[in-house]
């Protein structure tokens, strides 16, 4: 027994969220470098966007948990 296939699903979801949050963070850093005076607005929006991307990954993780429990 090497665990279940749902672990793959969790891994894929995390890869997707990782790419997404990486893009958001990278672009935000670029934006801050271009316009350091807008750092407050950019940071707040960055966290909001990262939270939205994270939400999709969390749903995938919970779905794989649920299918694992049955």
């Amino acid at each position: 027994m090497f665990g279940s296939i749902t672990a793959f699903g969790m891994g894929l979801a995390v890869i997707g969220a990782g790419i997404g949050i990486g893009q958001i963070g990278g672009k935000a850093m670029e934006a801050i470098a271009r316009q350091p005076e807008a750092v407050g607005d950019i940071r707040a929006n960055m966290i909001l966007m990262a939270a939205l991307v994270e939400g999709v990954a969390l749903i995938a993780i919970v779905v794989s948990f649920l299918s694992n429990a049955q």
Binding site: A44, L48, L58, I59, F65, L66, A69, Q70
Partner: protein, 417 residues
């Protein structure tokens, strides 16, 4: 009128919190074969159990019926209801719990296993206070409605009795569901919520009085700690997302932010109960349901129009968009619930696993050198993790608040096309 209905709804939501149970069992039933050999153990034998990090972590993050500060145990009131025997109200001190939260006595067929009250279902088990025998409990995987579920067993009078887990509000999704009794006790999480509530009330009444007394003067003492945080939420969250209606929703957003932040930070204090309130699915569910009602009670015509009949798109697209938007109504609070729960639970678990490494590598104290070596490493790792968790406590409270503000903002936005 609408406000009264809302207040009543929110009040009834909090009654759900007492279902704040963790899903026991299930997680670890197939993790190790050592549990398998453990069942065969007869009553009264004290076998030395191998260290199980998964089970230890789940035990430590779950809600409990006793409150421990360092080595001291404080009994909490148990309020239990079973359809068969009615209400039972007593202190959890009657169980005489040991250091692991396992009770050595049973009261009215209720036993304390790993800090949680469970109920013995057998009819031949005596009522009243009786002493359990030998090893106070062991876990055994049983089939229940076609699903394997891990139940605690206790020994009395030379025979084994299975003990039911408390009912949970998850309807069996996470391995819980309705069992033979309901636990409405003032548990560790409820006590922590009360503590944080009184702390917040004291803090904000003090600060509010200071503003009255020192009108027009610079903030002083605790005022200067609260003011920047308060202004940050007001200026960065409430005003940009809510437009000219920000004053109306600011009290709700502030309550959410400071309640979640207080609970997150309280859970970070070592040895003070180690409470994991915002890492409990029931608590975050209630917070998310409150947000759901606040958003949808204040939704205007345009908000509902955009959900059920999106203007400006062809009819065949509407048939796809409407179900998606309708599901989005429920997915938004669900992600709020899961995000807070997952982040806080993961933080607590990582800390426990790092501490557990000492016992894993040191073979529960048999290898002294390995224990000491790992202890140094895992203490450093735990300190690093705790400082990250401090950041996460702020970020998650902020994210919950900013998302709530953006949902309210979207629901109350005036038409501009």
């Amino acid at each position: 009128m609408r406000q009264y209905v809302l207040t009543l709804l929110l009040a009834s939501m909090f009654a759900l919190v007492s279902f704040g149970q963790e899903h026991n069992g299930e997680q670890s039933h197939d993790e190790n074969a050592t549990e398998e050999t453990h069942h065969e153990e007869a009553c009264g034998e004290h076998g030395k159990e191998p260290f199980n990090p998964g089970a230890t972590a789940f035990h430590h993050i779950s809600d409990q019926n006793i409150y421990n500060i360092g080595p001291f145990h404080f009994p909490l009131p148990c309020i239990l209801y079973s359809p068969e025997q009615g209400w039972s109200v007593f202190s959890s001190g009657v169980f005489h719990a040991d250091a692991h939260g396992n009770g050595h006595y049973a009261m009215d067929r209720y036993v304390l296993v790993e800090g949680r009250v469970r109920r013995v279902v057998a009819d031949d088990f005596p009522m009243g206070k009786v002493e359990l025998e030998g090893h106070p409990f062991f876990k055994k995987v049983e089939q229940k409605d076609g699903k394997p579920i891990e139940l605690a067993h206790v020994c009395y009078g030379g025979s084994q009795y299975a003990a039911d887990n408390p009912s949970t509000a998850d309807g069996g999704l996470f391995g819980g569901g309705v069992t033979s009794f309901y636990d409405f006790s003032i548990t560790k999480n409820v006590v922590t919520m009360f503590l944080v509530f009184f702390l917040m009330a004291w803090l904000f009444i003090t600060v509010a009085n200071a503003y009255k007394k020192r009108d027009g003067m610079a903030p002083k003492g605790i005022q200067s700690f609260i003011e920047p945080i308060f202004l940050f939420i007001q200026d960065e969250v409430a005003k940009p997302f809510l437009g000219h209606k920000w004053e109306r929703f600011t009290p709700f957003l502030m309550s959410l932010f400071f309640f979640i932040l207080g609970l997150n930070l309280f859970g970070q204090i070592p040895f003070l109960g180690g409470s994991n309130v915002t890492g409990n699915l029931a608590v975050t569910m209630v917070l998310a349901i409150i947000t759901f009602f606040v958003v949808n009670f204040h939704g205007n015509k345009h908000y509902w129009e955009h959900i059920f009949w999106m203007p400006g798109v062809p009819a065949w697209v509407k048939t796809i968009l409407t179900p998606v938007e309708f599901l989005g109504l429920f997915i938004k609070p669900m992600t709020l619930m899961l995000r807070l729960f997952a982040n806080i639970t993961a933080g607590h678990m990582v800390v426990i696993i790092f501490v557990g490494l000492i016992f894993l590598f040191g073979k529960s104290g048999e290898l002294a050198g390995a224990s000491y070596g790992t202890a140094v490493g895992s203490t450093l790792l735990t300190m690093f993790m705790m400082s990250i968790e401090l950041l996460v406590a702020f970020i998650q409270a902020f994210v919950f608040t900013i998302l709530t503000a953006s949902y309210i903002g979207a629901a109350t936005e005036e038409a501009h096309h």
